[in-house]
């Protein structure tokens, strides 16, 4: 038996896990056997980044703060999913819904809160089950449920126009639904903004495409078992097929109340964050009420956790938490908004400084009492926010010159500000990182922004402090900031930048992916690096490349695009999007023969047969008798065309003929990212050639404008004109040369829009058009070699490349 005390933590969220980290950092691992209970089936993740997960800027996998290994490595026993159902203070044990009874010496309650759903009719279906389409927004699971449902919806309503409601509304826009925000107060974010600021925010949200309904109280959710609309108290209704309720939070107090602890709005604590009734029970996070206040943001809980950890480990018996001043920032892409303290002057002494420019969406307001900042809101421009947050938090007197508080005019230099700033000043409010911690981290040898961010987590929350973090890093490193090398590696698993990697590969004659891992990565094979290496080796060695099929993504092993039900899509090549009656009949017959569940026209003027099993792929290809359309590969994809001079009344150049030539020449050419092309017969641009990776647009006089670096997917960019040429052949030559230059110099997965911006149009034009480096002939020869080496991958229908290439499940021969 261990003689350590037993510390049991209820709640494995941001406060619980962070407090345990603080306890461990103070040597608490020697003092306590730590057991944590978490209701969610995961390690602790950064809840505030769920907004980014919903709006698609962050992957759920990237928001974990404490992955499961962390618990094992730190000898923390985690029970998850397991919900504590009872605290027995007399016997000092807790019961959980997985049937366990766990004794404790010290207990930490960190149960957080849950969304508050105001009473309204129709939240449940006829059988009392939750109505389909009604959601709250608090957990990873909520986030996924919302995402899954939104994909099927047309119109969504968010009830509640506060911080979280607006973040959810912005996130929903990404799913292509019409979004309505329903708010009870006369303006949005009424806790953080005054009427004027609220009005400006409303118009910004409207411009973004969000419909805003103010002073509306929801009476009922309509619909039988799925949502069909909302009914308001004033009698009006709104059609919608999903609802997110975001009207505040309720602390999870029940456990504490049931075991007799004092609970008001939340569990009442003393300055050491202990329940006022039981010195063995600590409380932290959103379920704690300290000096009458309950917080709903993360910054206070870092401070609570530190005081608590100092106290419980005996590091500092007098450690105390004195309450926090809080500032908020709205994490909505395209809206810069921060707010702190009060929103209105309330005393004769109060001085109000306002700047307002509603047309540009800028609004700044400060409320100052006796030279000290007591409230601020900044909309549209956050340049001064870091400074104001410091001044607000510490209560330092403001300079007399008020103008410089709002704008960067003759402000003190960064150095001066850094020197003045005490070590204890909090830089990252999301993760509670002070200037001193960053300084120590830099002095400890971490001299790049990325390394410091990873080590301290500063800047990894809402991101608003990133600029300040980089300033502190620069100051502390005394100008010796290093860039983190790994961001330059071509693939994560081999520590070399692209040019070094290419050199090593050529010098040592490495022709297969496995030989690169063997020779250049100490024999460590990394799945995330395989595809990038395969693409590079193929471009370097051409026909000599030793193809290892396991280095390919499944799509490239079977030459088709995998779908969510494990079937594949088959898209035959249709040069330039121009087909014939015979080919259409053939495609139709194949679709019938294989009972293809969906036949669809793609955005690239092709026909897609969706829902083909892996086993049927070779048969379908043979029956079609058409080459692969490469719609699955990092390669030349398609060249869309318009009808050009063949039929169009406006056409000035033969765009169809050119498109077909382009596609016949470059089909199947592999590249770091996919290449989508188009040709247009005139600047009306019907085939969208100006937003393609490469495009050619006919202009008067028999000329063609060549565009590169366009994009119209998740990223939208108009292409830049590379040059103007006067014949189809010249278009083919310049396009081929650019492709080869891109293939040789782009990072893996870097699309042309990123490549063009990184390298610069001037440089690309001088090399590709003016041959400033004298490599044009070599580029032309290399692309010609790739063109000559082209083999239709669908021929593997007859000659499979590997054993059981198209078979998922093999027979068991003998039991």
């Amino acid at each position: 038996m261990s003689d350590k005390q037993k510390l049991v933590v209820i709640g494995n969220g941001m406060a619980g896990a962070r407090t345990v980290e603080e306890i461990l950092a103070r040597g608490g691992g020697e003092q306590f056997d730590i057991t944590m209970f978490g209701d969610e089936p995961y390690g602790n993740y950064n809840r505030i980044l769920l907004s980014n997960v919903l709006n698609g800027t962050q992957d759920p996998a990237d928001i974990f703060l404490n992955p499961l290994e962390w618990y094992t490595e730190n000898d923390v026993t985690l029970h998850a999913p397991a919900r504590v159902t009872q605290i027995d203070r007399a016997r000092k044990e807790v019961r959980s819904n997985d049937g366990q009874v766990t004794p404790y010496d010290k207990l930490l309650i960190a149960t957080g809160s849950r969304p508050f759903v105001p009473p309204m009719e129709g939240l449940q279906g006829p059988e009392g089950e939750d109505k389909h389409g009604v959601f709250v927004f608090r957990t990873i699971d909520d986030c996924h449920k919302i995402a899954g449902y939104a994909n099927k919806c047309r119109k969504a309503a968010v009830i509640g126009g506060g911080l979280l409601g607006l973040e959810a509304a912005r996130g929903l826009l990404n799913y292509g639904v019409e979004v309505h925000v329903i708010h009870l107060a006369p303006w949005l974010m009424n806790n953080q903004l005054d009427a004027q600021g609220g009005k400006i925010l409303t118009s910004i949200m409207q411009k973004m495409g969000v419909h805003v309904h103010l002073e509306k109280a929801t009476a009922a959710v309509l619909g039988d078992d799925s949502v069909t609309g909302l009914q308001f108290k004033d009698g009006a209704t709104l059609d919608c097929d999903m609802v997110i309720i975001s009207t505040g939070i309720t602390p999870n107090n029940e456990l504490a109340r049931d075991c007799g602890l004092t609970v008001e709005r939340a569990i009442v604590t003393d300055n050491q964050m202990r329940s006022v009734d039981d010195p063995n029970i600590y409380v932290v996070g959103e379920c704690a009420q300290h000096r009458g206040r309950v917080y709903g943001l993360v910054a206070p809980l870092w401070e609570q956790g530190q005081a608590l950890a100092d106290h419980i480990t005996g590091r500092n018996e007098n450690a105390a938490y004195h309450g926090s001043k809080i500032a908020t920032k709205l994490k909505v892409m395209g809206v810069e908004l921060a707010s702190m303290g009060v929103t209105e002057a309330s005393d004769e002494r109060d001085e109000v400084v306002i700047f307002s420019e509603p047309k540009r969406g800028t609004y700044k307001k400060l409320i100052i009492r006796d030279g000290i900042l007591i409230g601020a809101m900044m909309l549209g421009d956050l340049n001064k926010v870091a400074y104001l947050m410091q001044a607000f938090d510490r209560g330092t007197p403001l300079p007399e010159e008020r103008l410089s508080l709002l704008f960067d005019i003759g402000a003190p230099s960064v150095e001066a500000t850094m020197l003045e700033m005490p070590d204890t000043a909090q830089i990252c409010n999301c993760n509670g990182v002070s200037k001193g911690q960053i300084r120590k981290c830099v002095e400890g040898g971490k001299r790049s922004l990325k390394m410091v961010m990873e080590a301290t987590r500063a800047g990894m929350g809402c991101g608003s402090c990133k600029k300040l973090v980089s300033e502190v890093v620069e100051w502390a490193a005394e100008g010796q900031v290093e860039e983190d090398p790994s961001i330059h590696y071509y693939v994560p698993g081999v520590a070399l930048i692209k040019s070094e990697l290419v050199e090593a590969i050529m010098a040592q004659g490495l022709k297969s992916v496995s030989s690169v891992f063997e020779t250049l990565a100490h024999g460590v094979e990394d799945a995330g690096s395989k595809m990038g290496l395969a693409s590079l080796l193929k471009s370097l060695w051409g026909a000599e490349y030793e193809d290892e099929r396991d280095a390919r993504y499944i799509n490239d092993r079977v030459h088709a695009n995998i779908q969510k039900d494990k079937t594949f899509s088959v898209i035959p090549r249709i040069y330039g999007g121009v087909t014939t009656a015979d080919d259409l009949i053939k495609i139709g017959q194949v679709a019938k023969k294989y009972d293809v569940p969906m036949v669809k026209f793609t955005g690239g003027q092709r026909i897609d047969l969706l829902g083909i099993t892996k086993e049927n792929l070779p048969k379908v290809w043979k029956d079609l008798g058409m080459p692969s359309g490469h719609a699955y590969a990092k390669s030349f994809r398609t060249c869309k065309t318009c009808v050009g001079t063949d039929f169009c009344r406006y056409g000035v150049g033969d765009s169809t003929g050119l498109g077909i030539k382009i596609e016949k020449r470059f089909q199947g050419i592999e590249s770091p990212g996919k290449m989508k092309l188009a040709t247009a017969g005139c600047p009306r641009n019907c085939s969208e050639a100006m937003v393609k990776d490469l495009g050619a647009v006919a202009v008067e006089g028999g000329n063609w404008e060549i565009y590169i670096g366009g994009a119209a997917g998740a990223h939208i960019r108009k292409g830049d004109i590379l040059c103007i040429v006067d014949s189809h052949d010249a278009v083919l030559q310049i396009m081929g040369r650019f492709m080869q230059y891109y293939i040789e110099n782009a990072k893996y997965l870097e699309r042309t829009y990123g490549f063009v911006e990184r390298v610069g149009m001037d440089k690309i034009r001088s090399i590709v058009v003016d041959d400033s480096e004298g490599i044009a002939a070599r580029l032309d020869a290399s692309i010609q070699a790739s063109v000559d080496a082209y083999v239709d991958p669908w021929l593997e229908a007859d000659t499979p490349a590997t054993a059981n290439q198209f078979i998922s499940t093999l027979p068991v021969l003998q039991a």
Partner: protein, 116 residues
């Protein structure tokens, strides 16, 4: 309820050459699909479907003794089934290569594996 097959059962799945090096293939044993991986570090066997959204793990990319699901890139350790990002683990099955290069899998029956 699955049927209990209490005694330990060995299955010979045939030559490892059926599975291209570095890839995986499924085998169906009773009602259970099992993915078998032929890696440069040896053979491994796990449940066939990803616990996230049923991605086909045998179609994933293998790196060392890890597999990445082809659907949303969850990663798992093939030796233990442990997830590398902190979610559900995979069921693993004992598997070895015989001297003649055949895959031999030990399967305890469906019910016995799922203690919960």
């Amino acid at each position: 309820m699955p049927i209990m097959t209490p005694e330990k059962t060995q299955y010979s799945l045939g030559s490892v050459a059926q599975i291209p090096l570095g890839e995986g293939r499924n085998f169906q044993i009773g009602g259970t699909e099992i993915a078998v991986f032929h890696t440069r570090q040896g053979v491994f066997a796990t449940q066939a479907e990803c616990p996230h959204r049923h991605g086909p793990l045998a179609d994933g990319l293998v790196g060392g003794t890890q597999v990445t699901c082809p659907f949303h890139a969850w990663k798992f350790d093939l030796t233990t089934g442990e997830p590398l990002m902190g979610q559900c683990a995979l069921q693993t099955y004992p598997v070895r290569l015989t001297d003649s290069g055949d895959i031999e899998l030990t399967f305890l029956g469906e019910a016995a594996h799922f203690v919960s």
